[in-house]
């Protein structure tokens, strides 16, 4: 266990990495002092990061909440080094990759740092022992490498490199701090060139570029096959280089070439990166460069944009003839320009299509893409195996490094398990390739298996030339649902959701439909789960709503709704809304605590279930929002009512005539009608935007989310009492008119469409309380009924149905064109349909009797619906 505390950190360097690290530290609640030799750089970096939104600009969106920027003090290295360093618990150097400059800086740091403070470098290429040269023993004891990946907020990998002199406690402290507080997946590497991820990642990139050049392939083809089909980021090879900046290629490859031993596999493929250097010489350094990179956008005279791409076969011919060096390489104007052509779709189809069936299917596809992918991947996977035990002897760490540092879906050894090791070895041998010892030792087996029900990986004994399975160690406090699922049976199971026992009397409710969309089957399992847990208080104490997919839930399944609409089965829609509301209410008032634990997107119905939980423990990257208005509806599973309750709790609940009735209504109206503004951009931001209550928590490391949520659920369990239903004092018709006025104003300005006016009307009817007045306390049941009625009134409109259809078809919200004959808001209101629904009795217990039978019927029909839907397509 680590026993050092890190409260203050000095970040030396305010470039992209330094400022990103500073922001992530501030996100973690740490006090930061950021310095740069350029006195303006730190403040400029903070301003740049504050402007960026994670959805649009992940590279710059360092802050999880704008308030975090206040935790960063700024200064310049010349004047403020002593002040920044003297009481820092951790000093992290993030300056240029220049050994001399780093050594000089560390000598300065040593003058001022307090004894026992941790010093680290973010270098990706320079060995630890070189940087520590000339420093004191205390410095060396506290000196390590902490290698972050760009952007530091979103890339989950952190490589830690300690030297022989490094105190064990320093390594342990940093492992724990960077894992728990910074949310990183920490892997420990030996002090070898490129550490783990860059060594293998660079090999792949370089091998892929040279092979593509030698084969004179089109760039679109390379990126198509080396993207999703391989489990790599969708940009592929050249697209990804454009994104990160192609200048990294000569920098890292030359560094590896200079530091790796002569017999290393990388040396065999290394050559001068002339292609890349030619582009760089002409300013084509990547996507954000004025000239672009391998791809570039050309603006035509009429203002339209055209995507161009480097004609690689032509470039390759120039490289082979030596012409390249004289023209592009010598920065001859126009020579490179002539090599761009309009970008098109990939010509290679078979191997790209085969990607859906797995890696082996790609290699067997029998086209140019298959041959290319095989030769690149063959060498890369062999290289990954051959570097062991240099940087590490753990295949699990290598795989984690490539997943979290390079966004590969599978690490090299997971890939080999998918391809089939024996197939791989046979085919590589046919190519005349030598097989490294690690693969030979593993032959006939998979790299991953289980030992005593727990995940295990092969551990290699290089001296004895054999390998045995060993349990993969997990840091304390991490509970993995995947592990639990592999080792047990669900308590309840349905087509789209399951209930798992995660120990200590806590159950986990998990969605597992496509993109975790919600349908009647989810509702049925949830209803049954609430009944089961309520009926067994001796066995079960609490529930967590959680899953390990990349998104918590994208909301209700619209395809299901659309089918019902197609056959004009309004009663089906009405039942979905009615039962959904009731099941969520049953969850809200269940006799046991429920903790929602989202990460990724939690939209629409997925957001609504969280609003019904007693507490939320959110992952750091949680994007919550009620986005229903985009498809012309309003939240119908209690979302309107629950968000209004949150707004009232925050802004002052109208009591008697104290506190205006309107401000909370206004807040909820804005959040639901303009969801893109109200959607949280992080777990912390969800608190700013009222999705989370002040008492809710945020977990920085998503691997720890289930453990944290479970702990929270258990802390709520002793003596748990369900909450009292809220009441609502609302402005009534005047409130509705005021909200309408706001929407009409947007409509007049052209910022809202004519159907937004209709959707806004339905929403304002609910939130202002219908025909109420401020003297009346409306019950929750009355509010929910209004929500249902307003929801159904929208479903009956043609345009809402059009929006739903458009979303399903294109994945994008439909924005209406202005009407040919322009109408005033009042005229729009006159022409829309009004419907009234019969009042239904309503309570907050799990569904039983006729209602439960009806839900079961709907849930049973879910797959049937999907099948019909597939057939119709």
């Amino acid at each position: 266990m680590a026993n050092r505390e890190i409260k203050k950190v000095a970040v030396l360097g305010a470039g992209a990495m330094g400022s990103g690290i500073a922001a992530q530290l501030a996100n973690a609640g740490v006090e930061v002092y950021m310095l740069d030799k350029n006195p303006d750089a730190p403040k400029a970096a903070i301003a740049r990061m504050l402007k960026a939104n994670p959805a649009a600009d992940a590279m710059n969106a360092g802050f999880m909440s704008p308030a975090n920027a206040k935790r960063i003090k700024t200064g310049n290295t010349d004047d403020n080094l002593e002040e920044a360093v003297k009481d820092a618990d951790w000093i992290v150097e993030v300056i240029v990759e220049d050994l001399g400059l780093k050594q000089k800086l560390f000598a300065e740091v040593e003058k001022y740092r307090k004894p026992g403070s941790i010093v680290s470098s973010n270098t990706s290429t320079i060995p630890l022992h070189d940087m520590a040269q000339g420093r004191s023993d205390d410095f060396k004891k506290n000196f390590i490498i902490t290698h972050f990946f760009n952007p530091p907020r979103f890339m989950r990998l952190l490589e830690i490199v300690s030297g022989p002199a490094t105190d064990k406690d320093v390594t342990e402290t940093m492992k724990e701090f960077c894992d728990v507080r910074l949310g990183k997946n920490v892997i420990v590497s030996n002090d070898t060139p490129g550490f783990i991820a860059n060594r293998i990642g660079t090999y792949l990139l370089f091998r892929a570029i040279t092979e593509a050049t030698n084969r004179k392939m089109n760039i679109e083809d390379v990126d198509a096959v080396m993207g999703r089909p391989m489990g790599f980021p969708k940009d592929g090879i050249f697209g990804l280089l454009d994104l990160v900046g192609i200048g990294i290629v000569p920098h890292v490859t030359k560094s590896l070439h200079g530091t790796l031993p002569p017999d290393d596999g990388f040396q065999k493929i290394f050559e001068e990166p002339k292609l890349v250097e030619g582009l760089l010489a002409n300013g084509h350094w990547g996507r954000n460069a004025p000239n672009g990179g391998f791809y570039r956008m050309k603006r035509n005279a009429d203002g339209s944009k055209q995507k161009l791409v480097l004609d690689l076969p032509k470039a390759a011919a120039l490289l082979q003839s030596g012409e390249w060096d004289k023209t592009v390489g010598a920065k001859a104007p126009g020579a490179l320009e002539a090599l761009y052509r309009p970008a098109g779709k990939a010509g290679i189809k078979k191997s790209v299509e085969a990607g859906k069936k797995g890696l082996r299917a790609v290699f067997d596809a029998g086209d140019a893409g298959a041959d290319y992918a095989w030769s690149v991947m063959r060498d890369t996977l062999i290289y990954a195996a051959s570097v062991m035990p240099g940087p590490t002897d753990s295949i699990a760490d290598i795989d984690a490094g490539m997943r979290d540092g390079y966004n590969w879906k599978y690490g090299p050894f997971e890939m080999l398990d998918k391809i089939g090791l024996d197939y791989f070895i046979r085919r590589a041998q046919m190519d005349g390739i030598e097989i490294p010892p690690v693969l030979k030792m593993a032959e006939g087996r998979k790299f991953y298996s289980r030992v005593n029900g727990r995940p295990a990986a092969l551990k290699f004994d290089f001296a004895a030339n054999k390998a045995e399975y060993a349990v993969i160690p997990r840091p304390a406090g991490i509970i993995s649902l995947a592990d639990i699922k592999r080792g047990s049976k669900p308590v309840l199971h349905g087509q789209s959701a399951s209930l798992w026992d995660i120990g200590d009397g806590v159950v986990c409710f998990e969605f597992h439909s496509k993109m975790n969309s919600l349908d009647p089957s989810v509702m049925k399992v949830l209803n049954d789960s609430i009944k089961l847990v309520s009926a067994n208080p001796d066995k079960y104490k609490a529930m967590v709503v959680y899953n390990e997919d990349s998104n918590f839930s994208v909301g209700a399944n619209l395809a299901f709704a659309q089918l019902a609409l197609k056959f004009n089965k309004m009663s089906v829609i009405e039942n979905i809304i009615y039962t959904g509301q009731r099941v969520y209410q049953a969850l809200r008032y269940a006799p046991f605590p429920v903790v929602g634990a989202p990460n990724g997107m939690a939209l629409g119905g997925g957001c609504e279930i969280l609003l019904h939980c007693d507490a939320i423990q959110a992952g750091a990257e949680t994007y919550m929002g009620l986005v229903e208005s985009g498809v012309g509806i309003i939240p119908g599973w209690g979302g309107c009512v629950r968000y209004l309750e949150r707004a009232q709790d925050t802004q002052g609940k109208p009591k008697g005539l104290k506190n205006g009735t309107f401000p909370p209504v206004q807040t909820a109206f804005g959040a639901i009608l303009a969801p893109m503004m109200a959607m949280s951009t992080s777990g912390q931001d969800a608190k700013n935007k009222l999705w989370l209550r002040p008492t809710d928590g945020v977990t920085m490391n998503k691997d720890r989310l289930l453990g944290d949520a479970k702990a929270k659920a258990l802390s709520l369990a002793p003596g748990y009492k369900p909450p009292e239903p809220p009441t609502f004092r609302l402005p009534g018709a005047s409130g509705k008119a005021s909200l309408q006025m706001a929407v009409d104003d947007f409509y007049t300005k052209g910022d809202a469409t004519w159907h937004d006016v209709v959707v806004g009307d339905a929403l304002s009817e609910v939130l202002s309380g219908g025909g109420t007045n401020p003297g009346i306390e409306l019950t929750e049941a009355e509010m929910l009924q209004m929500e249902r009625e307003a929801f159904m009134s929208l479903v009956h409109t043609k345009q809402t149905q059009a929006r739903i259809g458009h979303m399903l078809k294109t994945g994008k919200p439909l924005r209406e064109e202005p009407l040919k004959e322009s109408k005033t808001p009042a005229q729009i209101r006159e022409t829309r349909d009004h419907i009234t629904l019969p009042v239904k009795p309503y309570d907050a217990k799990p569904l039983s009797g006729r209602d439960a039978r009806r839900l079961k019927l709907m849930a049973g029909a879910t797959w049937g619906f999907y099948k019909v839907l597939g057939f119709m397509k």
Binding site: P663, M741, K749, G750, D751
Partner: protein, 393 residues
């Protein structure tokens, strides 16, 4: 009939406000000063400057829009109770809301009371802290029936300016030229020290901060329309939201003579009018016409015009319509020291500034007649004619 006269005019600096919206971290220069602490110094300045016996002040009449929070609870009377206020308990207080016309309206009320023999001296003030109370208030509810029958009654003021720009074919360029001139006139007036005598420093601020000396046609042309996507009205051609207080002391002419108070102007006439709310900005035309008729003069007799520049498009439309109706306002008579586009428009406080300014301009120029007029949201206009009792020949 008795004459009512203006014997004193004072105001705080007008400074740009920043509406207290969520997430807003900027503040206006006078955001730290409550409306009360803007108004009391103005009252005291009027007392000090004229030397009036505070006990003779019958009433404080205050124009103020959105009378809630610190602007609520009848601020006119509360001001008298303020520990620093030089008036005594014997003076009454009334707060009035006629939107932008509020503090011009209270001057008319004072005139009427004096002419009716119901008062000898009344302090008329206007106050607005747009930094502290947002334009729609804190619980902004509207009446459903009125909204359904007359939605234009609640239109965004900017949209009404767009409507006028369309109706009177006012180009964006014309608007920008008008706005630029307002800034140039205000800057020249600042340089000449023309505001010095009217401004009472408050909260450490002693100068208006809305005047943009660096304003240029190119810069204005680059702005996005503020109210309609394809509209022509921008932030540069609209009056900015502003904090400030203003006031005039109105007495009977006899009282002024007896007590040796410096008469700045007689209040000759006042008129209010209504118009379609969607073109509320045209209000000054009808109101001015009525006020001139009541004063028994024509526009040709008027040498000083203070027209509230709610928007450049609105002001230009008024000028065009006036000219069409035979009431052409010559450029050299209009807003000589700059207007609201440069100085700002603190709703409730603008009317008393216009009247006070017109009165002091009569003194400065020695001219005989002045007209102060303004448009009012919801579709109204107000206008007041002043007469210099001792014009220079």
């Amino acid at each position: 009939m008795k004459h009512a006269v203006i014997v004193g005019y004072a105001r705080t600096p007008f400074t740009r406000a920043v509406s207290p919206a969520p997430g807003q971290t900027k503040t206006g220069k006078l955001a730290h000063v409550t409306p009360m602490n803007m108004m009391v110094p103005v009252i005291n300045e009027l007392v000090d400057r004229t030397g009036i016996d505070p006990k003779d002040v019958e009433t404080v009449l205050t124009g103020c829009v959105n009378q809630e929070a610190e602007q609520g609870l009848n601020i006119a009377r509360l001001a008298i109770l303020h520990r620093d206020c030089k008036l005594t308990n014997s003076t009454g207080g009334v707060t009035v809301d006629r939107f932008c016309g509020s503090s011009m309206h209270v001057i008319a009320d004072a005139k009427n009371a004096i002419q009716a023999g119901e008062a000898e001296a009344i302090i008329c003030t206007g106050v607005q802290s747009m930094s502290r109370v947002p334009m729609t208030g804190w619980n902004p509810l509207i009446d459903k029936e009125v909204y359904e029958s007359h939605p234009a009654g609640f239109l965004n003021m900017g949209v009404t300016a767009e409507n006028l720009a369309r109706k009177y074919s006012v180009s964006r360029k014309e608007q920008e030229e008008f706005a630029l001139k307002s800034h140039q006139k205000a800057a020249a007036a600042q340089d000449a020290g023309n505001y010095k005598e009217e401004i009472v420093p408050v909260g450490g601020v002693s100068e208006d901060d809305g005047v943009r000396r660096d304003a240029s046609a190119e810069q204005m042309a680059g702005l996005k329309p503020a109210f309609e996507k394809s509209g022509s009205v921008t932030a540069a051609t609209s009056s900015p939201i502003t904090d400030g207080a203003s006031g005039v002391l109105v007495t009977s002419e006899d009282y002024a003579k007896t007590n040796n108070l410096p008469v700045m102007a007689r209040i000759k006439s006042f008129a209010g009018s209504g118009c379609a709310p969607e073109i509320m900005g045209i209000g000054p035309v009808e109101a001015s016409k009525k006020a001139l008729e009541r004063a028994g003069i024509t526009m040709k007799d008027v040498d000083i015009v203070e027209l509230n520049e709610a928007f450049a498009a609105q002001s230009i439309s008024v000028l065009k319509e006036m000219e069409a109706q035979g009431m052409k306002i010559e450029e050299h008579k209009l807003n000589i020291d700059g207007g609201a586009i440069a100085l700002g428009h603190p709703l409730g406080a603008s009317g008393a500034r216009l009247v006070g300014k017109a009165a002091s301009l009569l003194q400065r120029t020695g001219k005989r007649y002045a007209l102060a007029t303004m448009c009012i949201g919801g579709g109204q206009g107000v206008a007041m004619v002043l007469e210099n009792p001792n014009p220079k020949p």
